[in-house]
Symmetry: C2
Amino acid sequence: MLFAPAHRMSFKLGVLLAITGVLMACERQDAARQPTVAAATHAATQADPLPSWNEGAAKQAIREFVKDVSTEGGPKFVPAPERIAVFDNDGTLWAEQPIYFQGLFLADRVKALLPQHPEWRTQDPFASLLKGDMKAVASAGEKGAMEMLVATHAGMTTEEFSKTVADWIATARHPKTGRPYTEMVYQPMLELLAYLRANGFKTFIVSGGGIEFMRPWTEKVYGVPPEQVVGSSSELKFEMRDGEPVLIKLPVLDFVDDKEGKPAGIQSHIGRRPIAAFGNSDGDLQMLQWTAAGSGARFALLVHHTDAAREWAYDRKSTVGRLDKALDEALTKNWVVVDMKRDWNAIYPTGNSQ
Amino acid sequence: MLFAPAHRMSFKLGVLLAITGVLMACERQDAARQPTVAAATHAATQADPLPSWNEGAAKQAIREFVKDVSTEGGPKFVPAPERIAVFDNDGTLWAEQPIYFQGLFLADRVKALLPQHPEWRTQDPFASLLKGDMKAVASAGEKGAMEMLVATHAGMTTEEFSKTVADWIATARHPKTGRPYTEMVYQPMLELLAYLRANGFKTFIVSGGGIEFMRPWTEKVYGVPPEQVVGSSSELKFEMRDGEPVLIKLPVLDFVDDKEGKPAGIQSHIGRRPIAAFGNSDGDLQMLQWTAAGSGARFALLVHHTDAAREWAYDRKSTVGRLDKALDEALTKNWVVVDMKRDWNAIYPTGNSQ
């Protein structure tokens, strides 16, 4: 290595955010539960592919853009193979409060692995986590965070890890809503994904979350197959075990797909510049800049969490999903800003939630 | 970094191979030119999607596999989203003699950049390369190789590099055949790619070559879009230049997509195990092992270069595209081995070659 590139520098930040997330989640687990947010009734008609979007500037801008780029012969036409749309996940496609859901997965894994690791009962940061002593966990710093990540995310094969995630996502419930996490995806964004695909777009997820944490469920939940998921990753090692080839997840962070890392992740995995990008936080700023700066028709959209009653309201001062610099830039550059409270008549899908 | 994973260890090997390639290419540039190999006439019928394949075990195995996995309700049916097929590039989809074509690109870049780098006339390894003193180039070792790679592949934006490759691929000619490199792709493999896609497969390239070296032309030549190309890569850095966002190719090798690296590259980019893999050398062994070891119907194929008259004949002792261990394993495991001389009635497409 001649020098460490910028997107690796954000590693510490990412780990600290994850830890912060675990702390906050544990502190809030005792908070009063609220009844499940009921999704609004859809007055869906065949004519409206976006029934959960209220009429307004955001919905109009989306429909106009899609019409422009898919109208053959029109001045803004874009050939279908170049209709690449990228979506952040946490806070854009599904919720992210009180912390990134992968942080809750990490905490649950520590508890689940306790029988195989009785030493954790007396060994920090695990012991402190189990006792709920979050100040002590925090004092273990980056080293402690790395220990927990390694213990819960590394050392197993990719297929073992995938099964662990699939089992968790099928059974875990959100501490506040009591919903499965896959039912805390945003109904308006599901409609948007489908609408874009129906108009020749290829939809990708580009998330700071772990790529192997998302792939086991994104195809079923979002219609986005594993090969269209970009995320943070650890190194993989190929080896033969009992004559069978396996890929082992190493305790070595390979790529952090956040902030400056997002355009790099897009180039690495997609290899061409998207024409549309959807995010909700400062972590998405560079992805939106990269997308918007291309030639021809471009679309950049931020989801602004403004709905404390049906979801959460947060922006410039939130530790999770902070939206500050990107909001300023959106206002300057006339990017579309979705006001969740005003623009969405439904938040979550109507489903079999508790 | 806690430790360096195995696939990074092959970095030195890769660089040395590239250098060996440059040396061999330079030595052979004066070799007698042969007339362009004329592609055999196709007796293509609507009924035969593989007209350049002679009837025989290889062709029969391909057709049987495709029928098996695409017959709904059949015992070997595979849902379309899981029909992932991966192809090596050098020696599998296009030729690779006398050296990997990217080595010829590197040598041409050194010559093209000479006006901006007059110091290269007196500075090794460039001076030796320009004088044709290949022993001196070789003595510069890995450090010298890295200098040449950095000078020709790094420091520019991804878009500048892409244009450089596109210009080269449009104008450069192979030292022996005089053909453009994109007309040294294998006609039978073009038919195979199209046949698989017509049967619901998604086709990917998984090559030891540079990912950004392939993407500018694979969609046009193979029908494989940039997002379905996996290859070796350098680190990318996002930055603003004069208010515009750019991605800079750094002089830092990020990933070597060869040997043990190929299954890791597949997992990173595709996220699920292919059901069919096509290669030609020991560099593809682990990719074929990884593919073949999955459950359900599986297909593994090696192209064996046996045709010295129409192409090249080489295997166990070749420095480029060595086929030794993988050939043994193919025989043991009953993988399909294509005998180019016997199984293919055409090598290159009939086109506008010189």
